[in-house]
Amino acid sequence: MKVSRLMQSKVTWAVIAEALILIVCFIIRPDFFSISYQPSTGMLYGSLIDIVNRSAEITIISMGMTLVIALGGTDLSVGALVAVAGAISLKFLRWDVLTYNTPGDYTVYPYVLVIFVPLIVCALMGLFNGFLVAKGGMQPIIATLILMVCGRGVAQILTDGKQFTTGYSPFRVIGQGSFMYLPMPIIITIIVVVAVALFTRKTAFGAFVESVGVNPSASRLSGIKADTVILIVFMITGLLSGIAGLIYSSRIMSNDSNNAGLNFEMDAILAVVIGGTNMAGGKFSLAGTVVGSLIIRTIVTFVYYFGIVSEATMAFKALIIAVVIVLQSEPVREYFAKRARKKEGVSHA
């Protein structure tokens, strides 16, 4: 009984898929799970650490995306917001490339602005998305398409279409520093995941989101302010995209408005869906999303091990994701449920 219920849960399939990929990695490369300590940087090294580290941006964004999808929507603008956050922070670090023409260990404007202005702007852009959805009554996919189209344009115009680089060391800490032997992005990810989990599960907010996702009018009648819930969810997603944008641009110590956050919205949505949250809205699983995000990153690492060019990973990603999605699809799960019931019937007889 318990096993059959587990087999019907989408999260189980995600965990099984991740375990299988890891096992194959281990068979190919027995040193896959080894983790070593590098005293010079004060950080742990290893493939597993690398997978978690590199999945940080997607995990952070997909925390917000989980809530958006639980509302029954999708947010396409997150990738563009990553580019915007990078552009703004680099703009404050360098301001005018002609006056400060060599990148070095300095910042033109205070570090507080470098960090908080991008976050505030991204949160406001998220709020704009939420406003269009909640007050304008638009479909989320369309409302966020606007910023997805404009966002990169805004990022480019903020930096006059130029790419700035910087060497400011406190900024480097965000993406390349370490804390408690772990790379900084992992620490930030853990903080974000715990914060979102506490906010949704320890307050009634998570229940509100699920309720609005299942039936907005019914939840409005039962006294939930659906509009406010939508506004907050989109604002959180915007803010988290901003955090991911800071990590991304700190990794490359530069802004890259063309490529920063490219296809992040797609990866984040996939992570959420693989993690077992239904795109139609309703129940969501943050733990599943984290597993989903790890799966996506593990596949990339996995394909590297076969020595296949990085762009072609997409094809393998597609194949593995297709298998996971087909296994999770309703008819297949029903088939398993039916078989489980049959077996039970036999044992009772």
Partner: protein, 343 residues
């Protein structure tokens, strides 16, 4: 009932308001361009013909996308499939030495097959269209990169002839036909685009299949209860969209004469934007080919304006497109709410 409506009633049907809005705004933007840059030749037929020549591949893809959107679905794989078609043609002719038609046929099998497969998964496995076609996009893009990571030039007499073939626009003056000045022409891509729009209009307006598309988009459950073949229709629509993506890829390959694994990245959203600006609702059930045609023109006139200005960064084009999208969605909201009130 419908044929008893007077012409006036038919024209003022709220169904068409979005199309009128698209045409109206296109005319306003075009008139603005004509007013600002008439000295640089904005008002010539050449500029107008170039709108078609430079955007034919988006237009061809938008025909299929409009149908998918009317069923209430979405297809994110079109850019990648078009890019893969370009790779097939480039790799096939330049590296393998095949005839381009063989490559195009192989692409058609690939594109239509992938479309039908995605339609099947969407309908029978009940996987959201967004996720299914996203996986399709990743797959096609990945195969592009497997074929080659570098741009491959296409050198083949057949392709050169097809890409170089053009009809000059003529005028009748002093008893003979002469080319108009400045010289304006239309090419194979433009004709393909126009033919696809006509085919799309015919399918949507004049066939049972087209009416099924609208019915499914309006309400799939009631369409199925009425006995309409919703599964078959949806699968065929995705297959047709695959065909359109491949034709768009052929058209793009003729336009740039090369295949590149990263070409047309984000093209799917450009195409969806064209359809939405043209009055197609993403909720399904509403949309038309003529609207999409003007949506493509409206979206392509903005980069043209920025080129004519000469001082603006091309990025303003993206911002303008976003604002246009916002404007249209607001109009749509207004139309939908006012239509709801009238009921």
């Amino acid at each position: 009932m419908h044929n008893r409506q007077s012409l006036l009633n038919r024209i003022t049907n709220p169904k068409y308001i979005m199309v009128y809005a698209t045409i109206g705004i296109f005319l306003i933007v075009y008139a603005f361009g004509a007013f600002m840059y008439s000295d640089k030749g904005f008002l010539t037929i050449r500029t107008f013909a170039n709108l078609f020549i430079d955007n034919a591949y988006y237009g061809i893809s938008a025909v299929g996308m409009t149908m998918v959107l009317i069923t209430g679905g979405i297809d994110l794989s079109v850019g990648a499939v078009a890019s893969l078609t370009g790779m097939f043609i480039a790799y096939g002719t330049t590296v393998l030495g095949l005839h381009p038609m063989t490559c195009i046929l192989a692409s058609l099998v690939m594109g239509v097959g992938l479309g039908l497969l995605m339609g099947w998964v969407i309908h029978y496995l009940n996987v959201p269209a967004f996720i299914t076609t996203l996986t399709g996009m990743f797959f096609a893009r990945g195969v592009c990169s497997l074929i080659s990571r570098e741009s491959i030039d296409i050198h083949h007499p057949f392709i050169d002839a097809l890409a170089g073939w053009k009809i000059y626009l003529m005028k009748y003056a002093n008893g003979q036909w002469v080319r108009i000045r400045p010289i304006a022409f239309i090419n194979f891509n433009v004709i393909l685009f126009v033919i696809m729009i006509i085919i799309g209009t015919f399918i949507l307006q004049r066939t049972r299949f087209g009416r099924n598309i609208y019915a499914i988009g309006g309400n799939e459950q009631s369409a199925s209860l009425m006995g309409l073949p919703s599964g078959r229709t949806k699968i065929l629509v995705y297959g047709f969209n695959g065909l359109c993506s491949v034709l768009a890829g052929v058209s793009y390959a003729l336009y740039v004469k090369s295949g590149w694994n990263l070409s047309l990245q984000g093209g799917e959203l450009e195409v969806i934007t064209c359809a939405v600006i043209g009055g197609t609702l993403l909720t399904g059930g509403v949309g038309s080919m003529i609207g999409t045609l003007f949506g493509v023109l409206l979206k392509s006139v903005i980069p043209a304006l920025i080129t004519f200005n000469g001082n603006l960064l091309s990025w303003w084009g993206k911002i303008a497109t976003g604002l246009l999208l916002l404007l249209f969605i607001c109009i749509q909201r207004f139309v939908v709410t006012s239509a709801g009130k009238r009921k």
